[in-house]
């Protein structure tokens, strides 16, 4: 049990680091750097804990992104920054880059390499599984981040009373 928790914490720590790295690449203000790391850590913890309990990656990413979108509202008031600045970097580590890469790789193998009919069917399966997982994870991430604001029917955080 303990080593599972430690492993989860380790993975979450590294998603925090990934969020921080992308934050610095996007030149976020210095006062938002720690927030980006903390949100990346929390989002990673939620996503990987859910996936540990066999929740599908799409739903896991959605809930993690929804958490980021929700916690951003009080955070924006606290550190006086607009929410995009620290809500996008924590979501980037969850971007399905790996699925995108698998999809394109299968497409290229399908076109350039494979002649054997049975292996071509396996490749078609890989293209569809990875491609649609990628699209659905992308949709769930963006909807998840934007949903709290849409539900509150506000287009700026400043007008939300806490």
């Amino acid at each position: 049990m303990l080593d599972i928790i430690l492993k989860l914490l380790e993975v979450s720590f590294w998603s925090g680091v990934a969020a921080l790295g992308f934050g610095i690449l996007f030149n976020i203000p210095r006062s938002a750097v720690f927030t980006a790391f903390a949100l990346g850590f929390c989002a990673g913890l939620i996503k990987f804990s859910l996936m540990h309990f066999h929740v599908h990656v799409v739903l896991g990413s959605f809930l993690a992104a929804f958490f980021v979108g929700l916690i951003c509202i009080p955070m924006a008031h606290k550190i006086h920054q607009p929410p995009v600045v620290f809500s996008i970097p924590p979501v980037i580590p969850m971007i399905p880059g790996y699925y995108a890469y698998e999809t394109v790789l299968s497409v290229m193998n399908f076109i350039f390499m494979e002649g054997d009919a049975s292996k071509r069917i396996v490749l078609i399966d890989a293209i569809f599984t990875n491609g649609f997982t990628m699209v659905f994870v992308l949709i769930s991430l963006t909807v998840g981040v934007a949903l709290p604001m849409l539900l509150l029917k506000k287009n700026t955080v400043k007008k939300i009373e806490l």
């Binding site: 590294w14 998603s15 690449l25 030149n27 979501v91 971007i95 394109v104």
Partner: protein
Amino acid sequence: MNDSPKLIQTADLLLEISSLLMVSGANTNRANLSIDRFASVLNVKASSLISHKTLIMTLIDEETNLSCTRVQNIPPYIINFSIISAISKASWNAISENWTLEQISNDIERIKKLNRYPRIVVLIAVSLAGAGFCNIFKGDYLNMFVAFMSTFIGLYVFQQTHKLKYNLYIRIFLGSFLASVSASIGILYHIGEHPQTALATSILFLVPGVPLINSFTDLMDNNILNGMVRFTTGLMIVLSMSIGLFLAMYLFQLN
């Protein structure tokens, strides 16, 4: 007709602000909101067409009913969230303290001169992010070291070619090709337990996260055209990344 030069000045300032926002990676809705906030401070009514490469804006003075239409081209996109944050703060300050045109344009000049992080900090932070990705996809610490080095080389080439003003997609191809060649050397010498993971994650620093997220928020806001443009940009970036990776895998016979 005394108001006309001032109206032109106002239009140029508002165009400058929205072009800065678009270049820095804000979505279309945010650019529109900022224009409305500044316009309400300056007592004008603004209607604008925001596309990916060009801005068109008509201003109507609320007192004199004079109008002015200006067009501006948007320079190449460089994501910079500090600028978005600073412009957002400036817009709220302008509303609460009722700023004049000069005050706003002075503040925008100040915002344009904001510093970026030093290059070495960016290189190390993004390489650590690459190592982090490798850990997320179950790599061990040796794999993470390979991912760190490959990301570092890839990003260095990506930045260096930016200085030489290469086309964006050529730069992404070169970055992903060199990063995956360095990670493939890890596979050749069997460094770590899952060297394949290091190869897959070494190119993830190029992932077009901001264009893709902005594309979906634009689509949700019914800015369909801008959303589609951003989505296509994202797809082009993914395509150039994977061509670089594919070429490296082909050269090293890693199928």
